[in-house]
Amino acid sequence: MTSTITATLPAEPETSSPPRLSVARRIGRVGVHTALLLICIFWFTPIASIIAGSLRTDPDSLSSGWWHIFIHPLLTGDNYKRAFDTLNAGSSLANSLLIAVPTTIGTVAVSALGAFALSRMRFAGRSAVFLLMVALLVVPPQITLIPLLKLFAGLGMAGTIPVVWIYQIGFTVPFGVFLTRGYMTGLPDEILEAATVDGCNNRKAFTRIVLPLSAPILASVAILQFLWSWNDLLTPLLFLGSSNSDAPITLQVAGLVGSNGQGANILSAGAIISIIVPLIIIVGLQKYFVAGITGGAVKG
């Protein structure tokens, strides 16, 4: 592929005079905007369809597609009212936060500590630990469930929120360490060497130098973990159970999907209620996310 391109392209600058080039550029610009516009329309259409669906009446949705909202704009807030009640949204949203916030903090803390040792200390077994973490990245969640369900039941912890914290943190820390270690390895050695000469021990080097410098990657880990924890269905389903009063919003929405007799509109309203918080997080914090991941991935 590359060879054909290099073969045809070198001729271009000589043959094309300036005016022709600008025409080509202009066509190129139009192409860029068109392609991007099409992708954006494609990506937003599903979102538009549930927003529209959540505002329509059941008979309308059964007989016509969501775009008829523009032709026949009969709007109702009733779906939201019903979804809010059925999902027990007040308390299940609070439960989601109660699960996702400690999980996020725990994951960031454990990843930072582990990554510091793996990137900034020299000791026998360092590569072995890192190898183990990479291997654990690919463990499918399903196989961990039965042994852990038995274990937590045996400990009398089954059905409690701390079990969900432990599972979600333990499941993600290999990924957290993978990302964070790469970033910390890329930090300039001189700064840390200077600190050691100044008599800085590991604890001080960590809290005063490495941690502040690693803030972007830790923010990225935090954002990813918050989104995953909030949206995770499997863990709360199995470790809390769907009838638990501690059930988070995803579990409630999944229950609504499973129950017959509910119209599509109330489901759409429920789906929208469940995505507001993660939406604010990802849209609001995307620039920190970009800053964090770049630092790790571009160095090298």
């Binding site: 860029v32 007989s63 582990g114 654990l136 399903q142 961990t144 390895t185 005063r208 929405v253």
Partner: protein
């Protein structure tokens, strides 16, 4: 930033730290890394390593866990009952990462060329915030099917019906399309993170160098192949690795959208069914071990890259 680094290490702190550290250094010095690693090792061993070991053992035992099954569970895993499931995983493993990475690179490069970048990126990132359950609700409506002649309420069929000669398709139960229909949902939710990461890498490409090449009359496509692609290569690899691991373990989307019906089953979903519907731990464990073995090349590849970076 340098101020922050140097300010908190005053002389006063250094003086008492040195003598305290001197004596226990050999003993405590050796133990120190492991102290830092304790929370990581404790949690990941509990949640991943311990169940993993148990799974490998169970994969050689009978369904109810009594007595050894030899290679029986593996023979079943590669038998005709599971062939389609394995094949579907291969389809996922190729199509999903390829589509996400290719589209991710294209979108990242295009975004870098326009003024409404933030707006367009936000639109592409929105589905990232959506749980698979909510995505399933959305896409089941998108793919909704009515027999030909009736008004189509599903967006996809309604849109395609605008073209003459099109007959509506039941996307989720027609075996020609069902896997691709599910993979499209995965790409829709997964592209956001890929674009965030890749567009950061594209921005890190030296702009002055690109401008100079442009003034020399270098075409955009050539710029992309010769300059942009090589410098974002490492990031593309990272994204691809993450997506391949995701595709290997794929479960949620299949579970909530079709539950593996009409020939869309994948290993992750079948494993779940073996565990919680058939209570066949032997079968489920053998499937899990197969996934792990399938992931070994990724493991080897990642470690090799890490090694090379470490030696640089």
């Amino acid at each position: 930033m340098t101020d922050v680094l140097h300010a908190p290490v005053p002389v006063g702190d250094a003086a008492p730290a040195a003598p305290v550290r001197r004596r226990p250094r050999s003993m405590a010095g050796k133990a120190a890394p492991w102290l830092w690693l304790t929370p990581l090792l404790l949690l990941s061993s509990l949640v991943l390593l311990f169940p993993l070991v148990e799974t490998v053992v169970l994969s050689f035992r009978r369904a109810d866990g009594t007595g050894w099954a030899g290679a029986g569970n593996y023979a079943w895993s590669f038998g005709s009952a599971i062939r389609l499931v394995l094949l579907n995983n291969v389809v996922w493993l190729v199509a999903y990462p390829l589509a996400t990475v290719a589209l991710g690179v294209i979108v990242a490069v295009l975004l870098n060329k326009v003024r409404y970048e933030r707006f367009a990126r936000t639109i592409i990132v929105i589905p990232t915030a959506i749980s698979f359950t909510a995505a399933a609700v959305t896409w089941r409506l998108m793919y909704a099917y009515q027999p030909p002649g009736q008004p189509q309420t599903g967006t996809v069929n309604a849109f395609l019906s605008l073209f003459p000669g099109f007959t509506p398709v039941a996307w989720l139960s027609n075996h020609t399309f069902d896997n691709m229909a599910l993979i499209l949902v995965a790409v829709w939710t997964g592209l956001g993170v890929a674009v965030l990461v890749l567009s950061a890498a594209v921005k890190a490409v030296d702009g002055e160098m690109l401008e100079a090449a442009r003034l020399d009359g270098c075409g955009e496509w050539r710029l992309f192949v010769r300059m942009i692609l090589p410098s974002i290569g490492r990031t593309v690899l990272t994204v691809a690795t993450t997506q391949i691991i995701f595709a290997l373990k794929i479960f949620d989307i299949v579970y909530v959208m079709t539950n593996g019906n009409s020939g869309t089953d994948v290993v992750g979903n079948r494993m779940y069914a073996e565990l919680f519907q058939s209570s066949n731990f032997g079968h489920a464990s053998a499937l899990a071990v197969i996934l792990l073995v399938a992931a070994l090349p990724i493991l080897w590849f990642t470690v090799r890259i890490e090694r090379r970076e470490a030696h640089r």
